[in-house]
Symmetry: C2
Amino acid sequence: MATEEFSVSISEAPVEEAEAGWKLHPANGADLRFLGVVRETENGRRIAGIDYSSYGPMAERELTAICRALREERPAHRVLIHHRTGFVPVGVASLLIRVGTPHSAEAFDLAREYLKRIKATVPVWKTIRYEIP
Amino acid sequence: MATEEFSVSISEAPVEEAEAGWKLHPANGADLRFLGVVRETENGRRIAGIDYSSYGPMAERELTAICRALREERPAHRVLIHHRTGFVPVGVASLLIRVGTPHSAEAFDLAREYLKRIKATVPVWKTIRYEIP
């Protein structure tokens, strides 16, 4: 779902695609983007990538609820969130959080809080695909 | 100046240009980008943009010193910093800070610390160009 103030999505689309329509807003002096990237090792072993799966509609509803809650608790801001699903190879982003705010301190606080809440409550599961040695 | 670990620049180039060669690194699970954007109002008045000027070599040396210091104080990370100079219109980014770290908490802490130190010590001056009413 998308409004002027927030847009959330969970799909197999790369984060770059989800982000393509985002424009800087002249009311916002700070634009902060967090990318969560698949790392090359897990538990000390080399991996090929991670398979992300979610029950899409429920995960999107939860993301939307997080955005609504933070927009009530915090000052006005714009936010774009995308969680990629399916297989994501090492070195590629699986999560995008982008926040626009008038001043920089709010952008850091908000992006961090979005990340924390997404990790805590959004139903996305990961299966690590190890490299065959 | 540029190394594998950090790259700093101050010039009239748009931030998108300075950022073009940056690639996600598979050792880093977090990639955070801060953009400082010229806002549409200053002191309650509409503006057209901001003119940034600096004594280039000194400003680049100071940026480099900030990077060296933070790479000694903090865990390993990659960082890219660009400050645009000349006239930057409303809604366009004048400052880019991009940080790659293994985990997300470090990325937020570092980007914030870079921003704080840049604002405090890098010799870049701004002249606001108000809109003619």
